[in-house]
């Protein structure tokens, strides 16, 4: 039997460090696109071990697992521990759609005092701490790519984007980082 395939991230080898700004690819994680009606949320929350958030632009976290509200019936689940989220959801007999997107998305961590300015080069949303607090998340655009922004600290965001867009997103971030 052939040896097991190696996992190669789309952003392997890329990183940028400048004054007040650092860009780094996030570690691999399992991800799930979860769609479910209101009636299923209690059961799914139990199965996932976190309360699925119901308010726009919010997230819920439990250990290495997080649920990002993306729409009235849509969540992006991220598990940095690599848990099989599809299996977890399957334990809940409630109506839902769970689709593994662990490899569809990749993530970039943007950190440093200039984070808001760097993201502001391509994202039209208001990113001040007051308007986009820690723990807030939103599906939006960065330049010409769709992204999900998640504020993980006062001066740090996680940007989720599709794999093939990550090169563009990282390059635009890096360009903006060099300009602040």
């Amino acid at each position: 039997m052939a040896e097991t395939a190696r996992r190669i991230s789309a952003l392997e080898g890329r990183a940028y460090q400048g004054p007040g700004i650092a860009l780094n690819p996030a570690a691999p994680a399992s991800r799930l696109s979860l769609r479910a009606p209101e009636a299923s949320l209690a059961a799914l929350s139990k199965a996932l071990g976190l309360i699925l958030p119901r308010k726009p632009k919010t997230t819920a976290e439990s250990g290495k697992r997080a649920a990002l509200w993306l729409g009235p019936d849509e969540w992006l689940l991220i598990d940095e521990g690599g848990a099989d989220l599809t299996v977890l959801c399957a334990k809940a007999s409630a109506l839902h759609s769970a689709v593994d997107i662990s490899h569809r998305n990749t993530a970039i961590l943007v950190a440093g005092e200039h984070t808001e300015d760097v993201l502001g080069a391509g994202c039209p949303q208001a990113l001040s701490l007051a308007r986009f607090p820690i723990g807030a998340a939103s599906r939006t655009v960065f330049g010409k790519a769709e992204v999900v922004l998640w504020r993980i600290a006062e001066d740090a965001f996680r940007i989720e984007c599709w794999r093939s867009f990550s090169y563009y997103v990282f390059s635009l971030l890096e360009k903006a980082a060099r300009e602040v």
């Binding site: 109506l95 689709v99 093939s164």
Partner: protein, 998 residues
């Protein structure tokens, strides 16, 4: 002193002397100078030639409104910026400026002959003169006009600079950093509101730059402005942007600002963008854009040395430069007296103040008299002399009497101030004409904005500052930002200066009937006479007058001239100004570079370039790539110097003899999950899905409502409630949107959800008789035998130890598999497949070979063999429509009579009579090549290739009633001759389709 007209160093840094050149001649200036102030310091007034008549022109203003002093700034071979206003270009060491619109030199210009012909080049000249003969237009007139048209020379190399973009949000955006803007920003930021203050100058202060008598908070105005700017900049909740012009006011309080970052630097850092576009969404906007002084419209008012009174004052008080050694002042309002007073006090001889008004009164008028300045009340300047600079002015009493000549090498003029309502008007606010002061002021607001200070018609400094403080606090409060008890900002502001209304339109000497050239619009050379002529020739609305005369249509957009033009037109028409109308203010306020608008979207960042997980491998193998939408796809893999033809021929043969490996990762993939998944599929596709077994695949066709093919792809059923749908590469996003649209609007009751998985999976197609042998060693947990896994089936298992979805499908007609593995494993699995493939003589193949192989089998490509007007039946795919189905998107469209007509174009195969001839895709088809032109076209070629496997060319075509024409000879007319073709079935290779199990 090196700079003969520099009286003092003004507010500039005397220690830093900068060198610059103008038309090759070297000069010096001081840090803080503009190009204009530095030229004036050196006694240079002549800086350009006018657009139409090539008249010598000087510097009119000291700001952004400048219509005359447009120069080219040449940094290097690629950085040559035309039409830079010398009045806003900051001086840097080594600056090289050149004058424009002159040949051979600025002092002697051949084009100046136009000036002699001025009586013939009146308004509308072009429209009337170049009408006939009609044929002369293309050959004669247009080339000549094109050569003469345009001001300055566009750079001929790609712009090496880069440009930046920033989105920003704030509670209060203040546009303009004069006394009012600073006060508004101060009051707003005091509350804790997030404030952005944008000012176009390098240093805020606005009119305080020249206004000497202003005292704010006990300090001289300029000093207060600098302290306040520093205070604001230090606040966490304030962003102070200098060198930043608010150029556009768009919907929902979105404003465009452009920040100039390097144009003032001698040697900019390469990482530094030249400009940054700010797209600011503000809860409240405070407009503090000030007012623009108007010149007087009188005969010969365009000679170099004639400028705005406030400009002469700014050059004196801020830059320490005297605009002449004997300066006259011509005015119709009070503010220009201050210029005379300041000049006189600095020891510059003031020839006289000529005032149109019979009895001017006021502190500055009195002070002028006390200083011994001759005040000629009730007088007008009726003419000027001097070739390249004003030398003398002719002055006459307004109500008759002898004229007299006065020597003057500069003339400062003012007919009053026009509030800068540009941004307010762009915000769709309604302007109101104030009859008393004869000016347009902000009337009804449409967006959340407030105007303060001079742009709101508030003339006195005391009132302006008070108004601004109130507006700043109000804006912050309305933005919901005022928190707790913030202290009310109070400022004591006074200035002895008063701006009375002045006048607009033509002054004596330029009245109707006079032939004198009294310029209204300097940049487009429009005179008072031109405006009157436009009215005489029937123009009634200012919009028509403007277009006929081009008044206000130059790059300065008539900042100094619009009100003059409007007033002259209204006098001619005998109608009040508001009845004649006001031309629309449109963005940008001042010219904006394309670079600033493009921002980061250049070069590699113009569009996202999407690459598959195997891209690096293909690149290392020497693959040639093609662009498919945003994707880079391997097109073919040339080996040992092969050209495309040879490489594709080899790849095609190898796939059918052994196997080929192909990266199909770009195919769109949608996972459709939910108890109603099959019902939804039934509605979205023409095919039946309810009975498709788990683990089985089906080729699906999707229509639009009109019955035409929208997309196609193979769909696998993974579970009762789960389908793995594939779409075309280019169709992936729109197919998902199409499905989502129907799901949300037409079928919201269905319990089903759609998730794009295009990028979750790397898809490796292995096609050919050896395909099973190649993948077998890598696959775990899936029985690959034909019995267990027949053609058109899907299994889940492991490949190379990672979870995989394995499809047995074929787009080549050969036995084939498509391995789907999570994308990060794609490259590693590809390499393993490649290694196995090598043992069987397999090759990697690209999209060109994929296209040829599918054409050999008559498989269509949506978008190539269909064009949005092709039904399933047209494409020979009527079998894919579920006969018993009662509903799917497009089912009613298919019932339209014209979609069932037998003479519709149908997809068929074509074989050229000469097998070596490869048809051109898109070529038209006719039945009779000898018919007269225009021939009746009965179809066209959609796909055409050389097929190495068939040993001949093959083609697909849409032909009227094509299936009834089997065996018929048709013709493809080409420039040389008509190519004979035979209509044949669409399948060229393995007609019985035995090889999928071969």
């Amino acid at each position: 002193m090196i700079q003969p007209f520099r009286l003092t160093t003004g507010r500039l840094d005397a220690a830093e002397i900068l060198r610059f050149t103008f038309d090759g001649k070297s000069y010096t200036g001081l840090a803080g100078d503009t190009l204009a102030s530095a030229l004036l310091a050196n006694g240079v007034h002549l800086v350009g030639r006018s657009f139409k008549y090539h008249r010598p022109r000087g510097i009119l203003s000291a700001g952004a409104e400048e219509p005359n002093a447009l120069v080219g700034i040449h940094r290097d071979a690629a950085r040559k910026t035309p039409n830079v206003r010398a009045t806003v270009q900051e001086l840097y060491d080594g600056l090289a400026a050149v004058s424009q619109n002159r040949w051979p030199s600025l002092g002697f210009d051949v084009g100046g002959l136009n000036n002699l012909g001025a009586p013939f080049f009146s308004a509308g000249f072009y429209y009337k003169t170049f009408m006939w003969p009609r044929t002369a237009w293309e050959r004669l007139y247009e080339p000549i006009i094109r050569r003469a048209a345009g001001l300055g020379t566009a750079p001929d190399r790609p712009d090496p600079d880069h440009y930046s973009n920033r989105f920003a949000h704030c509670d209060v955006l203040v546009v303009g950093g004069g006394a009012a803007g600073l006060a508004a920003a101060l009051a707003a930021s005091e509350t804790g509101a997030r404030v952005i203050l944008a000012d176009e100058q390098a240093v805020p202060g606005g009119g305080l730059r020249f206004e000497t008598g202003a005292v704010i908070d006990g300090k001289p105005g300029w000093e207060w402005a600098q302290e306040t700017a520093a205070k604001l900049a230090a606040r966490d909740n304030v962003r102070l942007l200098t060198r930043t012009t608010g150029f556009g006011y768009y919907a929902q309080n979105m404003l465009g600002l452009v920040e100039r970052l390097t144009d003032h630097l001698s040697a900019p850092d390469v990482d530094q963008p030249r400009e940054r576009l700010w797209q600011v969404r503000a809860k409240r906007v405070v407009l503090a854009t000030g007012a623009i002084e108007r010149h007087m419209v009188f005969p010969g008012n365009d000679r170099p040395g004639i400028m705005l009174a406030s400009a002469a004052r700014a050059y004196l008080n801020h830059f320490g430069v005297a605009v002449g050694s004997k300066v006259a002042v011509y005015t119709a309002d009070d503010s220009a007296y201050a210029t005379a007073v300041d000049l006189k006090k600095r020891g510059v001889e003031v020839a006289a103040v000529i005032d149109l008004r019979p009895t001017p009164r006021g502190p500055h008028v009195e002070e002028s008299r006390e200083l011994g300045i001759e005040v000629l009340a009730g007088h007008a300047v009726v003419g000027t002399t001097g070739r390249l600079r004003v030398r003398r002015i002719e002055v006459a009493p307004v109500y008759g009497g002898a004229s007299r000549q006065i020597e003057a090498d500069a003339l400062a003029t003012s007919s009053g101030w026009t509030p800068a309502v540009h941004l307010f008007s762009q915000s769709r606010g309604k302007l109101a004409f104030d009859e008393e002061t004869r000016r347009f002021l902000p009337g009804q607001y449409v967006q959340d904005a407030l105007s303060v200070g001079a742009c709101n018609g508030t003339a006195s400094l005391t009132d302006a500052v008070e108004e601004a403080l109130r507006a700043g606090a109000k804006a912050a409060k309305e933005a919901g930002a005022a928190k707790g008890r913030s202290k009310t900002v109070k400022l004591d502001a006074r200035s002895p200066e008063a701006w009375s209304a002045g006048m607009a339109g033509a002054a004596p000497g330029a009245e109707a009937g006079k032939k004198a050239m009294a310029f209204v619009d300097f940049q487009n050379d429009v005179t008072a006479k031109d405006i009157r002529q436009a009215v005489q020739e029937g123009m009634r609305s200012i919009e028509h007058v403007k277009r006929f005369t081009t008044a206000g249509m130059a790059t300065d957009q008539g900042k100094t001239s619009n009100l003059h033009a409007l007033t002259i037109a209204s006098e001619m028409l005998g109608k009040p100004v508001p009845k004649v109308g006001l031309t629309t203010f449109r963005p940008p306020y001042t010219p904006v570079t394309f670079g600033a608008l493009v921002g980061h979207s250049r070069g590699a960042l113009f569009e996202p370039t999407r690459r598959t997980p195997t891209h690096a491998w293909a690149e290392a193998q020497g693959a040639v790539f093609e662009d498919v939408g945003q994707w880079k796809r391997a097109w073919y893999f040339p080996q040992g110097g092969e050209d495309m033809h040879a490489a594709v021929a080899r790849e095609c043969l190898t796939v059918r003899h052994s196997a080929g490996i192909f990266d199909a990762s770009t195919l769109g993939k949608i996972e459709i999950v939910g108890p109603d998944a099959a019902r939804f599929m039934e509605l979205m596709y023409t095919n039946p899905w309810q009975k498709l077994g788990i683990g089985r695949c089906r080729y699906g066709i999707m229509l639009r409502e009109d019955g035409f093919i929208y997309d196609d792809g193979v769909v696998g059923r993974l579970a009762e409630d789960r389908f793995h749908v594939t779409t075309t590469t280019g169709g992936a996003p729109r197919v998902l949107h199409h499905m989502e649209d129907y799901l949300q609007t037409e079928f919201p009751d269905l319990k089903v959800w759609l998730t794009s998985t295009s990028e979750q999976w790397a898809t490796i197609a292995v096609q050919g008789p050896k395909s099973r042998d190649i993948i077998a060693p890598l696959v775990e947990g899936i029985d690959l035998s034909d019995e267990a896994m027949p053609h058109m089936s899907v299994r889940e298992g492991r490949v190379c130890g990672v979870p995989a979805r394995l499809f047995r499908i074929s787009f080549t007609g050969e036995r084939g598999f498509e391995i789907n593995v999570p994308a990060d494993y794609g490259l590693s699995v590809w390499e393993a497949v490649w290694a196995e493939g090598q043992k069987h003589g397999a090759c990697a193949y690209g999209t060109e070979t994929m296209h040829v192989l599918r054409a050999e089998k008559g498989f269509i490509i949506v978008g190539q063999d269909t064009d949005g007007t092709v039904t399933p039946d047209d494409a020979g795919l009527a079998w894919a429509i579920g006969r018993k189905k009662t509903d799917f998107v497009g089912i009613r469209g298919l019932e339209r009579p014209d979609l069932k007509a037998p003479e519709r174009r149908q997809l068929v195969g074509l074989k050229t009579s000469d097998p070596k001839t490869v048809l051109e895709e898109g070529a038209q088809i006719v039945a009779d090549p000898n018919q007269p032109v225009p021939m009746k076209m009965i179809g066209f070629v959609t796909s055409s290739y050389w097929s190495e496997n068939c040993g001949r060319s093959i083609a697909l075509a849409l032909v009227e009633g094509g299936r009834e024409r089997m065996g018929e000879r048709l013709y493809v007319p080409m420039p040389e001759d008509a190519i004979e073709v035979e209509v044949v079935p669409m399948v060229f290779f393995d007609e019985k389709g035995e090889r999928t199990n071969g």
